[in-house]
């Protein structure tokens, strides 16, 4: 058994976590201002933004993957621009995977942040403005420290969701070992070539890690809610 486990190539897992970490970090920076805007705005355009943000949840990964594949390839102005200006190839590369994952996982970062910020006591934020604090300082020093469970949920769910993606990754990245062959794609390939032993081990590792991560999040939120006497 030990021999079996030590023989396994763990590179796809390493790649999955590298992808998930990059995606989560980039999405956090992008989503925070977006979620803050959505939670505070009274604009009539809000439902429009919300609908666009939520699209990746309902779209089949193949649809998203197809559009991204087209947009990132040199056939589109975007892909051509990156190739010509920076010499970056966005399809069948790790960079391309990160870009695609950012689209795919966007709602999983924005929505928990937005609902956390919307649940804040409006008067508490107003008290900060009246104290002379800018919106940015209020966000960082008052809003964020008071939505810790939502922050954690957003980061962990985005991370887990990126680790778990398959369709978009396969379409945009293909299966280049060490470059785009992440764990989920690797399992698919194992099954295809009927290497069920490796597929079993890979899958079991995924189940175990996913469970531990989610359990830790729920445990933390449970404790936070008890500590702050939260309603849930």
């Amino acid at each position: 058994m030990i021999e079996l486990l030590s023989d396994i190539n763990y590179q796809p897992f390493w790649l999955s976590f590298k992808l998930a970490t990059s995606t989560t970090a980039i999405l956090f920076v992008i989503s925070l201002p977006l979620a803050w805007y959505l939670s505070q705005t009274k604009s009539k355009l809000k439902p429009l933004f919300e609908a666009v943000t939520a699209l990746p949840i309902v779209l089949p990964p193949s649809v998203l993957g197809f559009y991204l594949l087209w947009a990132l390839s040199t056939n589109s102005p975007v892909g051509a621009f990156f190739e010509e200006t920076f010499g970056i190839k966005l399809v069948f590369s790790f960079t391309g995977l990160v870009v695609a994952s950012c689209f795919y996982s966007l709602p999983f970062m924005v929505q928990p942040l937005q609902s956390g910020l919307e649940g804040l006591n409006k008067h508490m934020l107003e008290a900060a403005y009246i104290s002379g604090k800018s919106r940015l300082e209020t966000l960082i020093r008052v809003a964020l420290p008071n939505i810790k469970p939502a922050l954690l949920t957003a980061v962990i769910v985005t991370f887990a969701h990126t680790v778990g993606e398959f369709g978009v990754v396969l379409m945009v990245g293909g299966s280049i070992p060490g470059e785009t062959k992440v764990a989920s794609v690797a399992i698919y390939e194992m099954v295809e070539v009927m290497d069920y032993t490796t597929a079993h081990i890979y899958s079991a590792i995924m189940v175990l890690i996913s469970f531990l991560v989610l359990f830790a999040v729920y445990l933390f939120n449970h404790r936070q809610n008890r500590k702050f006497g939260g309603a849930s």
Partner: protein, 284 residues
């Protein structure tokens, strides 16, 4: 000092309403804003704070806070605001709540001393009682040494004993810091104790404006005691009738004649009045 001439269309529970307020408030005045709920008191306060938009003009001293489309943001108005439900920064200790506004430790310590919170300075808000929270909120509002202190029913969630204590502290701070204060309140004794002017709003308009004595001490003719209450019961005892009336938290009994007993209905709002020549007043 403060010239207010504003209007705003409100969509309240009672349908459309036009808020139209024209007021001039002098320096160091303590103004109580009274009136039924939905009469526009909170909106007026929020417009003054810059938290809501309105039309018209607000000038404070030689500063223009609002003029047509221009509105000075709340950050620049240098006011203090006390919310009914405290609105403390939950992630910060009592002391940090004050120092967040301005890192002036001397002032923070002084305020905590006045309000007897010094021992609680390291505690988080969620471990405090309602009265303590509101005192923190009051201290926080004073940290910018505001020219104008706005309070939206600051004591209405507190029990009577705590109210009296905080009324005293509010008055101390109002005098100590030379602020001009506008407070929304429903409690006549509170208004009488604190304010030197009462403005009563109804349907978005000022309907009364004067000293607490002239506005609150309503009396008809030569009757000096005039109390509003609810008629709870009429008991017939031999040939007389006794009315039981709830006035505030107190029940009183009074003799009424048969004619009155026939007219009055149980559950009705009534006014009890008498001449006040020589009532007995004893310490409770």
């Amino acid at each position: 000092m403060i010239d207010i001439d504003i209007s705003k269309e409100l969509h309240g529970s009672g349908g459309e309403m036009m808020l139209g307020i024209s007021l001039n408030i002098g320096e160091n005045e303590f103004v109580a804003l009274a009136g039924k709920s939905g009469s526009g008191k909170t909106t007026l306060l929020r417009i003054l704070a810059g938290l809501e938009s309105g039309n018209g003009r607000i000038t404070v001293g030689d500063e223009v806070w609002q003029d047509g489309r221009f509105s000075l943001p709340p950050q620049k108005r240098k006011i203090g605001f006390v919310f009914q439900e405290y609105a403390l920064f939950e992630n910060m200790s009592v002391e940090q709540n004050l120092l967040f506004v301005r890192p002036d430790r001397v002032l923070a310590d002084k305020l905590l001393e006045i309000t007897e919170l010094a021992l609680l300075s390291k505690r988080l808000p969620q471990t405090l009682s309602g009265g303590q929270k509101q005192r923190v909120s009051l201290c926080r509002a004073m940290m910018n040494r505001p020219k104008l202190l706005l309070m939206d029913e600051p004591l209405s969630a507190l029990d009577p004993l705590m109210r009296t204590k905080l009324q005293h502290e509010i008055l101390t701070l109002h005098r100590e810091f030379d602020t001009t204060t506008i407070m929304v309140s429903h409690d006549p004794s509170e208004i009488y104790r604190l304010a030197n002017r009462v403005v009563v709003l109804n349907q978005g308009q000022v309907i009364k404006d004067g000293s607490p004595k002239s506005v609150l001490l309503e009396s008809r003719g030569s009757q000096k005691f005039s109390l509003e209450g609810e008629l709870l019961n009429i008991i017939k005892v031999d040939v007389i009738h006794i009315a039981v009336i709830a006035i505030g938290q107190q029940l009183v009994e009074t003799v009424i004649d048969r004619e009155q007993a026939n007219i009055l209905q149980i559950g009705q709002k009534v006014t009890v009045s008498t001449k006040a020549f020589a009532p007995t007043i004893l310490p409770a």
